[in-house]
Subunit: 186 residues, 2 copies
């Protein structure tokens, strides 16, 4: 996809984010985004199905950061420990993306259509983690519930991470939230 | 709202559900739903903003089932125990709604637009529970994390409850899932 225009996908995402922050999501068109990125509208639609998708990257790639780590955890790791490995992996994946993540979070928080999309992304992530746990031999309902706990830990850590004064590593934060959840449940 | 047409709101929801099951969500129009319910389109739009909303009732009423129970829990109850009281309350609220809930779940599962709306409903519920816990003196992050645990317990219990062979009380199921989560976290 788009090999003949190196970086078009990333440039479109950055252009969209700039415009959403400058003018608002509703007032920005696909034509605006393509122009800011220096590509045609046709190139936009080769990369993304619509304006809403431009801030959501490739869900398969994103989920694979979690699920590859779950699959690669030691065979004797518990479901929760395999999930914790995924939190570490996604923390590393986000390491260079902090400024982008903060700006993106501000846009998503201000737009119901993007919040909806973000929630669906979270649901699909939780389902992908549960499937990865089942694939390594976890039973139900442990797989589904562990996936929910990992998803909660990640989501709550992410909320803290994009807050203005939070500079910790996202993976460390997520492991810490998982510890808080375990403390609460005791 | 709609006092001059008693039951219009419920009749519209039932008509929509029937039509979505018979013809599919995309092939059903607001005009179809209004006709099946024996009301005008104008009455539909006095009750619901659009076709997607007709299966979602009044979010404030729904969230209040949880938050009133949280607010009404004994002053010395822990956040998790106040949340458990909300699971009992919502179980009672759903007691007469099992057949409707099953048919509705089948429609939602088949339609991405409805799944999105369902996820947003879940997010708002989680936020409402967290706010109710804060209002009764819980600290952060315990309030946010407890709300997530309660929301997971409810969601996972609901998935089991609408499965064809599950006849337990929804509140009992949710308390049982909360126990499983606590067991996993140990």
């Amino acid at each position: 996809m788009g090999r003949w225009e190196p970086g078009a996908r990333e440039r479109l995402a950055e252009a969209a984010l700039e415009l959403f922050l400058e003018r608002g999501y509703d007032a920005t068109t696909v034509a605006d985004i393509a122009a800011r990125a220096g590509v045609t509208e046709r190139t936009f639609f080769r990369q993304y199905s619509d304006k809403r998708e431009v801030l959501f990257g490739d869900p398969a790639e994103y989920n694979a950061v979690f699920t590859d780590a779950v699959a690669g955890a030691p065979a004797d790791a518990s479901p929760l420990d395999a999930g914790a490995a995924a939190l570490r992996a996604v923390g590393a994946w986000f390491a260079g993306r902090h400024p982008y993540a903060r700006r993106r979070a501000a846009v998503v928080a201000a737009n119901p259509a993007l919040q909806e999309r973000e929630q669906v992304k979270r649901l699909h992530l939780t389902e992908a983690i549960a499937a990865a746990l089942l694939a390594r031999g976890a039973a139900q309902p442990a797989a589904a519930l562990t996936a929910e706990l990992i998803s909660v830990a990640f989501h709550q850590a992410f909320v803290r991470w994009v807050a203005a004064d939070e500079e910790s590593d996202l993976g460390d934060l997520a492991i810490s939230v998982l510890g808080e959840l375990r403390g609460l449940a005791r």
